[in-house]
Amino acid sequence: MKYVIRFSPVFIFLLLLNTQNAYAYLDPGTGSYILQILIASLLGAAFAVKIFWQKITTSLKKIFSKNAGEQTNDPE
């Protein structure tokens, strides 16, 4: 609970920072809408890192499996 309470002022501060012009109507549910906008950027960044990391591991796997394949195919 302490964790959340400590987090709340930062959260509300961020919300206030982001509010600008007024529209007549907000959907889906104001709180859900604002939360989504806040966390989506964060999760988008995490997703970019994830995709980048997946690409690196896939390429490394390819390189290693190629080397292993070359070694086993070596007639010697």
Binding site: F11, Q20, N21, T30, S32, Y33, A40, F47
Partner: protein, 460 residues
């Protein structure tokens, strides 16, 4: 054609509605939805989702079938044989429904569309798999727009799954009270403190609930900032990870090990199976409901003969194990569902008609009630005449097992209570059921005190 032909749960969406004509199900697509419908088809999204068995296929029907002047098209979707609801699903069924919804959203975004609603009721189990049934739930994605169905996804899937895992698996019954999913403030208050240490649950449930509360009574200046498509994909990906991480191991209820704890000898069990198999082969029912099916052991006699079968049971562990077996064996004709027969699913929602009651979804061609009657008559004090009447409303033919008072399982039920059931006898059973059914066959089960009856409903 009158408005009465409109399907009673299909009225919220201005994009269209379901209706029945000559017993067949159609969906009217309104001109309001024209642009989105054409994009769904033209973009290839419809074909892609149907090919991957994620969306119910449909064919376009005669536009003259339209019920109102707002019609753009009339489509005829494949008919799902039995409509089930999230409060009738076990943990893995709800989880699979959640993952299917997110998979669809990811594909839709790739094709330039997005789900505009994420109701668990849009998923049905069809040929053994969760399938999205609301063809009109897709809208063209506008760059920068947040996901309009995010809140609904959290309420319909993430919160109930978290509650089922971290609190009690029976909490999916909250769906019976909250038709639009579990309110997030309720979920947050019920979930244990440790769920705040999971980033996904902290953000999508706890902070989400706080944010809803914080803004509930405020006239807020809306934000200008947009949600980029990549951020939206990140959100969907995170929800997918969150759902995947919520696991539940089925164990620990009185019925979970039922077939290891019966008073049947293997010969009696075999004999019972043979009698049921013969009855099914002889009467060839179009569909079967097995009531009190436990893990679906006997239901599979019907489903393995390619008969659409529903295996209902009260126990979440038994239904979970049954569903996992169906999934593992890729069974297409068996659908395990949760049901408390002493308090079956009621009609809920607007006018009590948005979601059908259990009885409304019948009658079944054949019902099997094996080792069930003593639980209804003795554990639940329902007189035999009322039980007979219930089955008369539920099926056309009935395979029912009479379990007499001297059976050890009935003795177990009576061990800690007074025997106030002088009329629970085989003669009384036959007498009461004869008022509603013709007795076609009766078979004493070898090495057992029990009798299997095959009954046919009387027209009364």
């Amino acid at each position: 054609m009158t408005l009465n032909d409109k399907q009673s749960g299909s009225f919220r969406d201005p994009s269209g509605f379901l209706f029945f004509r000559d017993g067949l199900l159609y969906r009217q697509v309104n001109t309001y939805y024209k642009e989105n419908y054409d994009f769904l088809i033209g973009s290839g999204l419809y074909d892609k989702l149907v090919k991957e068995n994620l969306l119910i296929p449909h064919e376009e029907a005669d536009p003259d079938y339209a019920l109102s002047g707002q019609a753009y098209k009339v489509i005829k979707p494949d008919r799902v044989p039995f409509i089930s609801y999230p409060y009738e699903w076990c943990f893995s069924q709800l989880k699979d429904a959640a993952l299917t919804t997110l998979k669809i959203q990811k594909i839709a975004l790739d094709y330039g569309m997005s789900l505009k609603d994420c109701s668990a009721y849009n998923i049905q189990f069809y040929n053994g798999k969760p399938v999205f049934i609301d063809t009109l739930s897709f809208e063209k994605y506008k760059e920068g727009e947040p996901w309009v169905a995010y809140r609904q996804f959290c309420q319909h899937f993430l919160a109930p799954l978290a509650l089922m895992k971290y609190k009690d698996v029976r909490l999916n019954q909250l769906f019976r009270i909250y038709i639009d999913g579990v309110p997030l403030d309720l979920a947050a208050s019920l979930l244990p403190f440790r769920t705040r240490f999971s980033f996904s649950l902290l953000s999508h449930i706890h902070i989400h609930a706080k944010s809803q509360k914080h803004y509930a009574d405020k006239a807020v200046k809306p934000v200008h900032r947009q949600v980029k498509k990549f951020a939206l994909l990140g959100l969907v990906d995170n929800l997918q990870t969150a759902v995947n991480k919520i696991t539940w191991k089925a164990a620990g209820t009185e019925w979970g090990d039922y077939y290891q704890d019966t008073n049947y000898s293997s010969s009696a069990q075999r004999h019972k199976m043979e009698i049921i198999k013969t009855c099914i082969e002889k009467y060839k029912p179009r569909n079967v409901w097995d009531l009190g099916a436990n893990n679906g052991f006997f239901s599979r006699i019907a489903s393995d003969s390619d008969i659409p079968t529903i295996a209902f049971d009260i126990d979440p562990v038994a239904v979970e194990l049954d569903y996992l077996e169906c999934r593992q064996k890729k069974e297409t004709q068996l659908l395990p569902l949760l049901l408390d027969l002493t308090n079956p699913s009621p009609g809920i929602g607007w006018k009590n008609k948005e979601r059908m009651s259990f009885i409304e979804r019948g009658p079944a061609d054949m019902v099997m009630a094996l080792a069930l009657i003593h639980h209804l008559a003795i554990s639940n004090n329902v007189p035999l005449i009322n039980i007979a009447e219930f089955f008369h409303n539920t099926c056309k033919t009935l395979i029912i097992e009479f379990v007499p008072k001297n059976d050890s399982q009935v003795q177990r039920l009576l061990a800690t209570r007074e025997d106030i059931f002088p009329h629970y006898t085989q003669q009384d059973f036959e007498k009461n059921f004869s008022g509603y059914f013709d007795i076609l066959e009766s078979h004493s089960i070898n090495e057992s005190e029990r009798t299997l009856y095959l009954l046919q409903r009387k027209a009364i």
